[in-house]
Amino acid sequence: MNKKIDSLSPIERKIIPFLNLEINEIVEKSELDRTTVLRALKFLEEKEILILETRRKEIIDLGTNGNYYKRNHLPERNLLSFLEKNNHIEIGEAKKQIKLSDNEFKAALGVLKRKSLIDLSNGKIKISINKEELTKKFPEEKFLENLPLEKSKLSGKEITVLKSLSNRKNIIEIIEERKTTFNLTEEGKQLAGKQITSNFIEKVTSEMIKTGTKGKKFRVYDMKSQVPQLFGGKKHFVNQSIEYAKKIWTDLGFKEMNGKLIETAFWNFDTLFTAQDHSAREMQDSFYIKKIKGKLPDKKLVEKIKLVHEKGVSGSKGWRYNWEEEEAKKIVMRTHGTTLSARTLANLKPEEIPAKYFAIGKVFRNETIDWSHGIEFYQTEGIVIDPDANFRHLLGYIKEFYKKMGFEKIRFRPSYFPYTEPSVEIDAFHPGKKIWLELGGAGIFRPEVVVPLLGKNIPVLAWGQGLDRIIMEFYKIQDLREMYSNDIKSLRNKKIWTK
């Protein structure tokens, strides 16, 4: 017991004389703020001096409209008073004359009808009760007058009234209150009310450093006591992982590409040999911007792209259809980062070859939002423009990237994209879950893509893979919505990217 008394902190000591009181009174008497008192009580609970108990209480109070109606009466009362003076009035006319909003009028009419206080016939409203009854208070009015009330203590009748009022906008508000109380333990009962003094050193002060602490003892702290949580500033966890991924690419000698999130269909699809009737271009999959058309680049390039689609280039047959400029002028939120690669190729000077580029950025899909779908996600994009590049190099770069991202075992499968050939699909083996994760696609750009943009046919290795999936794996996130939900608590508590 004495040891316990020695370890009491100043705030605990400050409230011990008042432990026979309620928490509110302790706050008042001890002149500490409420949070501090609660903290002190928590400490005392850890020392088994008392036991805290928290009870939740739902308090029903007036909402914004409720407050207004309390002063100016409920709409149904207003309507009834109005009808008293204007019985047998036409509905439309009543609506015009009375000072109620459309919704209020509708609600009031409904309520009075339900209560059988009025009759509606031939579009006219008639009061169906006598004068005496007219002045009788509605249960709703009584209820509002009695607020605030505790929900658990309502009578059955009151609950019905509460239900009907809850359906109406902002009349009542339910506030959750937490009430904390405590009970003293046997030890606590002995201590409560006593003044406890001590000669121990509490806080170390700069004064002490000067005068020294000879002959005095430091109060012993409870090593296990809880301390308030600290919240540091932090990068968003997705951005942490993306910075890491960027570093992988720069370490491998890749230069970053930057570009717009919104593009013309020309750059997002047409330069990438995606036929204008290809399903990926449909509105149900992509976000097109309403009412805006973009500009196409210089005529020469547009002609080349048209030719590639209609008749092909360097031995290709093309897609054989009428390519339309208008379709290419549509504006779309980029559906893949490959649009950056197309632009980079178009701007590349011959002396810059060989070259390696990467980008990590958001791409957009017109999807529903659920645990496995989202409207935006990150993609990592890369191209290697190298006369000597080959398929094995493509696999080499990709394998290295995923190895550094923590996936040792990678599998390549045949795939299809309109702009690459050969095309591959990449799966990574999840060692914990023992499943293959589908990561995305890659390939070597078709001559139909490279020749118009670059002017000659050089192998261009290209890839574009979603990153969200592997970020989710690292943070053990099950639901895709959590990635951009910005729940502050979960952001504060999320571990940092430690790869």
Binding site: E376, P422, E448, N486
Partner: protein, 541 residues
Amino acid sequence: MVIVRHSLKEFEKHVVLSDENLEKLSLFGTPVELLDKEVEIEINPNRPDLIPLEGLVRAFNTFQGKTKNKTYSINKPEKDYKVFVDKSVKEVRPNTVCAIVKNLKLDNEKIKDLVNFQEKIHTTMGKNRKKMAIGIYPLDKIKLPLRYEAKNPLNIKFAPLGYEKEMNAQQILKRHPAGIEYSHLLKGKAKLPIFIDANGKILSLPPIINSNETGKVTENTKNLFIECSGFDKEILNKALNILVTSLIDMGGKAYSMKIYDKKNQITPDLTREKIRVSLENVNKLLGINLKEKEMIKLLNKMGHEYKKGFAFVPAWRTDILHEVDLIEDIAISYGYDKFVPEIPKLATIGEESRENKLKSKISELLIGLNLLEISSYHLMKKAETKKLKLKNILEVENSKTEYKVLRQNLLSSVLRVLSKNKDKEYPQNIFEIGKVFSQDDNQETGIKEQTNLVIALTPGNFTEIKQHLEYLTKMLDLSYKVKETTQQGFIEGRTGSIVLHGKEIGHFGEVHPNTLKTWNLKMPLAILELNLDEVIEKICE
């Protein structure tokens, strides 16, 4: 991706479902998943020839080297095996190619497969019947030769599939389920296409519906008339070839038909297409070292013949546009798992863009001030634009969610985030760096994209937010001026605009309690939002 299902029983007759074979199927590009009584196969959209079970089995067996490359023989057309194409179809659906297949044994399962095939080929190759549609008819109910012509919809009368009563084409388009679904394909056409037999009976109204009398295939049907109608003849031919070769694999005997159009031709035409392929290009692009003999073997395994620098491509392949497509086939045949990944010794200099480096530096500064970074969608809800009284909003078409509008500022994101986090511990001090959008006709896309920075302190006040601005500019060695300003949603007299070298680049101040109430917020809020592109530009100068 095309998802195709076949009955497990039927599939197992042709392919043993061992782990080894499943792995092989995956490496062939057609991963198979085993369901209860069916198999589900993912087929890449460039390979519609693998949609019918027979097509997949043929290709997979050849791939494994089990069977030799198949050649199909088509019998010459008999006397009346003719289709006359009238000029009137030119305006509506100009082309058709046809075939006849006899001696089939169709059970219910097979008929179901045919219908499934038709459906898949319509959505993929046919672009929902727009480019191409296939019709299948019981030959014995039809009197040859046939005509393909276009007529006034009121003069087209027949009972469509599933109906006993005769209707005219207008009624069919309005009432029949297929009519309702596909009538847009014939919208605005004065005359509609039909197939009609020698007795004057209408077979169908392509690409909508067959006749109930002459267009219904049952278990008793042994002989089929097949037509493919649409636009590009090459696509029509390929679709016809895919179906006819599958039917031959089922045991049918195929006959060609004479099509009398501008070019008079005989279909189906199974002549292989000749495409150049060079061993040197193959080895160079794949990074391997094949001999010609090996390359030929690999080509054969994918169904191609080879002779002196040319591959001869099966007539049902739709995806071979260029040599690179053959090179991919060779790679698949070689085995994607056999390629040894390699990083070449290619010296290039890696570099993060200056812009992104600076953004990262700036967020580190803010993290040092204990701010938490958020990351939110670039799209906002329409209701939010009203709360913020935004003008000239840019909307996306047909969004499947509430997020419909491109954000114009980051304030909207911050308010949404804070209002979702009211129950989390305060203070909540957050920031975001992200793109915002505005209409600008000078841009190639008609939309200006700008990177903004927003800082939100709650509870927070003018002094605190200004401290953050001071710290940030001081660390970036920038000097700025403040001008009093008004800003939608902020308190007048407590809002300053940030002026950098004479240009207003943003604002900071206290958010008005009315705004906070609209967003259901309960704590005072101070905000700073500025154009980070301008800041970065100044730093780089």
